[in-house]
Amino acid sequence: MGHLIANAWLRGLVHGALLITVLMTAVAWISWFERKFAARVQSRLGPTMVGPAGLLQPIADAFKMFQKEDIIPRGADSLLFRLAPPLTLFLSLATAAVLPIMPGMLASDLDIGVLYALAFSGLLAFPIWVAGWSSANKYALLGGMRMVAQGISYEIPMVLCALVPVVVTGSLSLSEIVKYQAAHHWLVFWPPGIGVIAFVLFFTTALAESNRIPFDIPEAESELVAGPTTEYTAIRFGLFASAEYAHSVVSCALASALFLGGWDGPVLPPSVWMLLKTAALFVIVTWVRWSLLRLRSDQLMALCWKYLVPVSLALVLGAGAWVYVVG
């Protein structure tokens, strides 16, 4: 299949190590970027003290997390409580295994890459629910339930929107979808109209899936303290935070692979294009977060079931009809 590293064992290990390193580093400085961005939006300076322009702040944060006390609250289901944070991170990283970074560079070129990525990303609601449930805390449980309700509701339009590229390209492999876009059109423009709506909806549902504002009702800090993660301290809490960032980044990468042509682009090397597109989408995610308000629970559900689901059903049919008529 033209992998840069032919041996599957070696490829898995190298990609695993590489992706985790890159992703965790990215996550660390993304948190810096977000704090700076938020500060600009709110006319503040943000972190300035640790390193030049506060650039070493994430490292200081990580060290702080390591040193804090790890508390398991009374009445908690100890096993599940411990299991939830690594599981969250695990699922965020697992999704990354099928992302094509450049031609011939992806860990697993699965025939069902789209399905695999969506399955793992959809599973992410469950460890968060487990965290909420096992904490034996009312806020956490309520947050966890909201997380599941939101996660499974938004998964449906997400899965349906991701179908549009599958219908157009006739392949479930992410690398095939990217190759198709490099050879023909970017799927955000193709089929005209349908593609761009599908992309916007996919991006919106991806925001909801990774509980970013305006869809962060599960951890609405003004009512639920910190939602499912209320009882978590030290690095366990840190893992949740990084998993959430990692999930956002991976969702952005997935959106660029599905709709924005992935590594396809002129002049610059493919992997740079992929990173640029992902980064651009992530900037939008941050921008949205610091510009919009949080939706209420009922608005959240109504938006999903009354608008996104019917529209995305129509998109799938529209794409099918388009392919049949235009080819």
């Binding site: 599957a8 064992w9 490829r11 898995g12 290990l13 990609h15 695993g16 985790i20 390591f66 040193q67 006390e69 790890d70 609250p73 009374r74 009445g75 690594p86 695990f90 990283l93 697992a94 990354a96 295994a97 099928v98 860990a107 697993s108 699965l110 025939d111 695999y116 904490s135 805390n137 806020y139 449980l141 339930m145 309700a149 499974i152 509701s153 998964e155 449906i156 899965v159 179908l163 599958v166 219908v167 006739g170 479930l172 303290v225 009882e231 690095i235 893992l239 629970s297 559900m301 109504a302 079931w305 009354k306 689901v309 059903l313 799938v316 049919l317 099918g320 009809a321 392919v323 049949y324």
Partner: protein, 119 residues
């Protein structure tokens, strides 16, 4: 077949190792001054009130049922999406019928108030 999945599996192994490593590190570096007060469930500083496993609104379960209906639908749509070129217009018509019937289901659930979070 297996070899395409192997790297993905290995990545999962690496991710596990990473998580375990972090926890070992924190258990070495972290402070340990446990007191009974720290283990009290956090309820904004006041004493914990009532049972921790509260009863939840039936809406959550209704959402779960709707999810099952539409997720199964998505499961059927994926194989269709990857081969519907071979099925020709009949495949398209059939999928219109399938999605149409689900749209009626959604309409029914909507009109019956199943989609209202608060009534």
């Amino acid at each position: 077949m297996l070899s395409t999945y192997l790297p993905a599996l290995l990545m999962l192994v690496v991710a596990t190792v990473f998580a375990v490593g972090i926890f070992t590190l924190t258990s070495v570096l972290g402070t340990k001054h446990m007191t009974p007060e720290k283990a009290i469930p956090y309820e904004s500083g006041s004493e914990s009130d009532g049972a921790n496993q509260i009863r939840l609104s039936v809406k959550f379960y209704l959402t779960a049922i709707l999810f099952v209906v539409f997720d199964i639908e998505a499961v059927f749509l994926y194989p269709w999406a990857s081969i519907f070129r071979q099925l020709g217009w009949f495949g398209l018509v059939e999928m219109f019928a399938f999605i149409g019937s689900l749209a009626i289901t959604l309409l029914y659930a909507w009109k019956k108030g199943a989609l209202e979070w608060e009534k």
